[in-house]
């Protein structure tokens, strides 16, 4: 495919990249990314430039054709919002090569948001606070600029019913699902926002200029036009420490989730500050927060499951799922249901008591 793309680019160079002269040669640096992401990115280098000119994102297959289309629509939409446009990739070109859809996007500056584990197995509070403030403020801005009221109760019912078909729920979890259904009116009233869908550290590039620190956000493959408010922030906070955990498998996931949200420590204090800041801006009632979190986790779990199910039918699976097949001694059918978001939902229900959420949100 790359030789065909290269020929295509060289022939159409002036139309696609009018600012640069036609190069004598093009090289492609490939980044397969996370398997479950479903895309491979190639950074394009021309002549003797020591930075890539743009990125070509290839969707691995055509099972989710709307993903590429939605990403293209959302990038175009964000390009028209001045305050957001400079922080997201600009869509340069979209096309179909053989079976694969491709999007050509601009390159954003910045270093991936990294963090190390320090004292008491926690990251340094000062850096965490800085990261969380940048992210929360940016997400509030994105939410305010893209807020609509397009979601209805049926959308949330379909998430819950879909989850019931795929996963098994205990009695307490089923009761929690009923509570979500009882609160859908309020949840719907918070509206919808453009959602990135995979708002994790790896997709956030940090520009740490002392006078003007900012973040750039890459990889909008899982984005949604009508996403649930606070979803991106929740994904960011939940996954912030996930890749730094020492313990592998399901036990490691749950331990990190509880450390992030439910244990009393400086890190979780920063987590709740970020949540409070967000819900204050969107006037989300603290009593609705657990149900909002629950439905977001289920939505993520169902989406991941659909991707894994499809991949498994093709004879392939992401490395993480394969490692679960080994570590948990699962069948593949069971392993593709072992989705971190499902465990986070279970953990949320286990920890759920109204007093806890009220105490964490007393300043909201």
């Amino acid at each position: 495919m790359i030789p065909e793309i290269k020929n295509f680019l060289l022939i159409n160079w002036k139309k696609i990249v009018p600012d640069y002269p036609v190069p004598s040669d093009i090289s492609f640096l490939g980044i397969p990314g996370a398997g479950e992401g479903g895309t491979v990115t190639f950074l394009l280098f021309i002549d003797s430039k020591n930075y890539p000119l743009f990125a070509i994102k290839v969707y691995r297959d055509n099972y989710f054709p709307n993903r590429a289309k939605t990403e293209a629509v959302i990038l175009k939409r964000l390009e028209s919002i001045p305050i957001i446009a400079s922080n997201v990739p600009r869509l340069i070109y979209k096309s179909l090569f053989g079976k694969n859809r491709i999007l050509i996007q601009s390159i954003l500056d910045g270093q991936a948001m990294t963090i190390t584990i320090g004292k008491y197995n926690l990251p340094p509070s000062k850096i965490v606070k800085h990261h969380f403030e940048l992210v929360t403020n940016w997400l509030i801005e994105l939410g305010q600029q893209t807020r609509h009221y397009n979601l209805n109760e049926n959308y949330f019912y379909s998430i819950i019913n879909n989850a019931k078909r795929i996963f098994k729920f205990s009695e307490k979890e089923q009761f929690f699902l009923i509570e979500i259904e009882n609160n859908l009116k309020n949840i719907v009233s918070y509206g919808s926002v453009i959602e990135h869908g995979d708002f994790c550290r790896q997709n956030i590039l940090l520009m740490d200029d002392i006078n003007n620190p900012k973040i750039n956000i890459i990889d909008w493959s899982d984005s949604k036009i009508d996403g649930i408010p606070i979803s991106d922030l929740l994904i960011f906070l939940t996954t912030y420490l996930l890749k730094l955990r020492k313990k592998t498998g399901v036990a490691g996931l749950i331990e990190t989730f509880e450390l992030t949200f439910f244990q009393s420590n400086p890190f979780s204090t920063n987590v709740w500050k970020a949540i409070n800041n967000y819900i204050k801006n969107f006037k989300i009632l603290k009593s609705d927060l657990p149900f909002l979190l629950g439905v977001i986790f289920l939505n993520q779990a169902c989406y991941e499951y659909s991707k894994l199910k499809y991949a498994s039918l093709q004879g392939t699976l992401p490395g993480f799922t394969l490692s679960l097949v080994e570590s948990e001694n699962d069948s593949v059918e069971d392993a593709i249901k072992r989705i971190p978001w499902y465990y986070f939902f279970q953990s949320l229900v286990k920890q759920y008591n109204k007093d806890f959420f009220f105490s964490k949100n007393k300043n909201a």
Binding site: M1, F28, L29, G30, G35, T316, L317, S323
Partner: protein
């Protein structure tokens, strides 16, 4: 007798895959295991010849594009593994051949659109890289593609972990590539270094013939390699550790002089120049 870590790893994978096949369970691969395929042309894909079945990943990935695939291996166990894996890919048209040598093969010259040399094979260990290229390139059609997955001759890690036999047979010096291919009427498309290891699941394909790409990888992207999940770190403990050291060393010392010792292998993709005679 000392057996290399890497060969043990391959043996273990083969054992596990075979066990699954015996229990009639479908095997699953990491989604990213064959992303090199995007670097190959996807037009004029009629026939492909693969030297070395490996665990079946290469022929099965090529079956998405190529109508007919011929696979040669000297190991009957690997051939039967591939046969059983193709059961799960009914549309794949894969023919297997058990051959101990690549010298006399039942194919006409210039009869394949793609010839793929998989580093995971044990053909004719006495052949030099020049002779090996001469033999396999003969089967590539004019305008067809040769893809060779080879170890880096200078790689320190392979010198430690591979037997000397394999180093001599299936390895190449970077500065040799272009002249070698020109000699057999090929023009280079690209030389990739799949990192962290060309036999594992690459997280990056760095075009090694472009120093700007390599520098950018070390300066900007390498940090992503350090941020992989603990499960992946555990699966590729050795490669992960080694790559971490490469990145650290290359950031401190001048890159050009030392990088050749740290790259485990190359994937060379070249196109045969049309010969009117």
């Amino acid at each position: 007798m000392r057996k290399s870590l890497n060969i043990l790893w391959q043996d273990e994978l083969l054992r596990r895959y075979t066990l699954k096949q015996n229990h009639n369970r479908q095997d699953f691969e990491d989604l990213r295991s064959a992303d090199w395929k995007y670097y190959l042309p996807n037009s004029n894909c009629k026939s492909a010849l693969v030297f070395g079945s490996g665990l079946g990943t290469v022929p099965i990935a090529l079956a998405d594009y190529y109508k007919n695939i011929s696979v040669l291996d000297s190991d009957s166990e690997k051939i039967s593994l591939l046969k059983s894996r193709t059961k799960f890919h009914p549309s794949a048209n894969i023919n297997t051949f058990l051959k101990s040598s690549i010298k006399k093969l039942p194919f006409r010259s210039k009869s394949f659109d793609l010839v793929f040399w998989n580093a995971d094979n044990s053909f004719d260990s006495s052949l030099s890289i020049q002779n090996l290229t001469k033999h396999i390139s003969n089967y590539v059609k004019d305008d067809g593609v040769l893809c060779m997955s080879l170890q880096n001759y200078y790689s320190l890690v392979d010198r430690v972990s591979f037997s000397s036999r394999l180093i001599n047979n299936s390895s190449i010096k970077l500065n040799q590539c272009r002249s070698l291919l020109n000699k057999f009427s090929f023009e280079l498309i690209c030389i990739l270094s799949p990192l962290p290891h060309f036999k594992g699941i690459p997280l990056f394909y760095v075009p090694i013939d472009n120093s700007d790409c390599l520098n950018y990888f070390l300066r900007v992207l390498s940090v992503r390699l350090l941020g992989i999940s603990p499960e992946l770190k555990q699966s590729y403990k050795f490669e992960y550790f080694f790559t971490k050291i490469i990145i650290m060393v290359c950031k401190i010392l001048p890159l050009g002089s030392i990088i050749k010792y740290f790259l485990p292998g190359y994937m060379i993709i070249a196109k045969k120049i049309k010969n009117d005679s």
